[in-house]
Amino acid sequence: MIRQAATVGREGTPAVRAYAPVLLAVALVALLPLRYGDSRSMMGVVIGGVLFACYTIGFNVIFGSTGQLFLCTGALAGLGGYASAILSERHGLPMVLAMLLASLVAAAAGGLLSWIAVSRSLGVIFTGIVTLTFALAFQNLLLGQRDLTGGETGLVVDAGSETLLGEEVAPFYVFVALLAAYLALFRALQRSHFGWAFRALRDDEIAAELAGVDVKRYRVFAGTLGSGMIGLAGALYAHSEGFISPSTFSFGEVDVLVIVMLAFGGIGSLLGPVVGAAAFTVLEEWMDSFNEYRLIIYGSVILVLFLALPRGVVPTVQRLVGRLRRRRARGRRPAPAAQPPVDTLAPR
């Protein structure tokens, strides 16, 4: 039964149609500098939006695909950012190498957390608490180890300032490239046996195990991959921004936004992170003048979102479009012909 359900739809679609949304989204995003290219501050905001879209896709791989509530997105990004900064600043590693290594560090951390959660069969709450303690501990580590991390005052990241990351508009395109890669990766995952396994284990874990899905392996894989993605994005940001501090990667700055963005866009959907990141980047900008109400607005958004739109924007829109299409098709077709006789001996 599970096999049947999974092969219908995704794997059957030709590659061009499957990746079209990716290309479309990337194309739209790539056009943004036309509007905002001359304002350095606005480009900063736009880059921030793309960055968060990348974070959210990584979180989507971990939480949206395999249901692991990782409350440490910021810490994983921070691991990537600080590792890359330290490796390139202190140890003189070339920037790209530092970023890749930093991404591996984040992937390892995430994989370890996943492995712990999986081998101890931790449910949602305990996974959340363990990852949250990791996030808070990491934050304290950053603040406490002043010699290594610069503590509260942060770290200046020079490596990369001579490359195109140091320019005004060019970093944006690097981030867009990353976004495109992440979206393509997510889509590829969905169409592969990974995606099939993810859907199966989200639907019914026990049934998936019985069908031969090694739930543990897939969870750890998702945790590792998603964390690596988040870490790489964090590292890229460190080099393009040129300065990082503990507050850049704190729970309040990153995790809250990522969770809300994904929930708004649609947990588990391909474009959900992009839609969510776009919506909340706009909201953040608009709220700049209402700084005192920021927390109140976010809290209210969370409440309304999870009470009214539990699936998120993208899946809801998909369902509405599907319904409209079916209604139109029904209107065109004449009354249905008599059904062929059902084979009553066939199993249900």
């Binding site: 949602v124 959340g128 304290n140 603040l143 109400y293 976010y298 809290g299 958004v301 409440l303």
Partner: protein, 286 residues
């Protein structure tokens, strides 16, 4: 060293009381009240405002506790309804996220309206000598209150009919229903109680150091750590964990440093989850 440990016990008793509310609500409803800290601060700020307005200390404190309890009750009767309609992990996740939203809203409102407000209760009197350690009257009173309220709570849960009804819902909800216990009523009662307890802890904390408007998240994290280490759903576990962690807190802060202390406390929670998820005395609701 003895002074540090005594300070730890004082702190720990209050930690325990803070964790009890969280652990009870989780044991009963499967909901992790991430707004616990904000309810505590809400109560403290209400008390501070009443004191500023000229009310005597005790009525002001009672008002704060009452407001926090009432908000807890309202939250249960309104927001928690859709949460209770779900089961298992679905309920846990939704409850967690909704309470997070509530935490933001309360925090946001308090920081916006009363950004500089803080509760400080100065308890007069000379320091008292306990077993060779000079203890401030504020610490002693805070401990006495925490101990007293804690004892009443434990006795209530053990021996009072309503208290046993509360425990019955934690141990077997369907069984409780078959006995005529209404889980919804019990949950509402406990939610209100946990809000009131949280506010009470904020009040006792203010006897030794000011409780500011942004203390909410620290309180929540503390409550979470204590509840997890003690065992989610276990009241005595929360108290035991509270005292142990309180001592760890003061000893570590005294001899090592504040950042490491926080990591140690967080680590205790993580280690508990990984090695012994039911906690010190857990009823094993997981």
């Amino acid at each position: 060293m003895r002074a540090v440990v005594f300070d730890g016990v004082v702190l720990g008793l209050q930690f325990g009381l803070l964790g009890v509310g969280l652990t009870l609500v989780y044991g009963l409803a499967g909901v992790l009240n991430l707004a616990q800290g904000q309810l505590a601060v809400l109560g403290a700020i209400v008390a501070a405002l009443r004191i500023d307005a000229g009310t005597a200390v005790i009525p002001a404190v009672l008002a704060g506790v009452a407001v926090a309890g009432t908000v807890g009750l309202v939250l249960d009767l309104t927001l928690m309804r859709p949460v209770y309609r779900r089961r298992g992990e679905d309920r846990v996740l939704l409850g967690l996220l909704l309470m997070l939203g509530v935490a933001f809203i309360i925090d946001g409102v308090l920081v916006w309206r009363y950004p500089i407000e803080a509760l400080t209760l100065r308890i007069g009197g000379d320091p008292v000598d306990i077993l060779g350690v000079r203890m401030r009257t504020g610490s002693l009173l805070a401990s006495a209150i925490a101990l007293g309220v804690g004892a009443v709570l434990v006795l209530f849960l053990r021996y009072a009919t309503t208290g046993k009804a509360v425990r019955s819902v934690i141990q077997d909800e369907e069984g409780a229903q078959l006995c005529g216990v209404s889980p919804a009523t019990v949950r509402a009662f406990v939610f209100a109680l946990s809000g009131a307890l949280a506010a009470l802890v904020a009040v006792t904390r203010s006897m030794t150091s000011p409780v500011t408007v942004n203390a909410g998240i620290d309180f929540t994290i503390l409550a979470l750590i204590v509840a997890v280490v003690g065992g989610l759903g276990s009241v005595s576990g929360a108290f035991l964990a509270g005292i142990l962690l309180g001592i760890v807190n003061t000893v570590s802060a005294h001899y090592i440093g504040t950042y490491v202390t926080t990591i140690i406390l967080l680590g205790a929670a993580a280690v508990t989850i990984v090695l012994r998820p039911s906690g010190l005395l857990g009823a094993g609701r997981e």
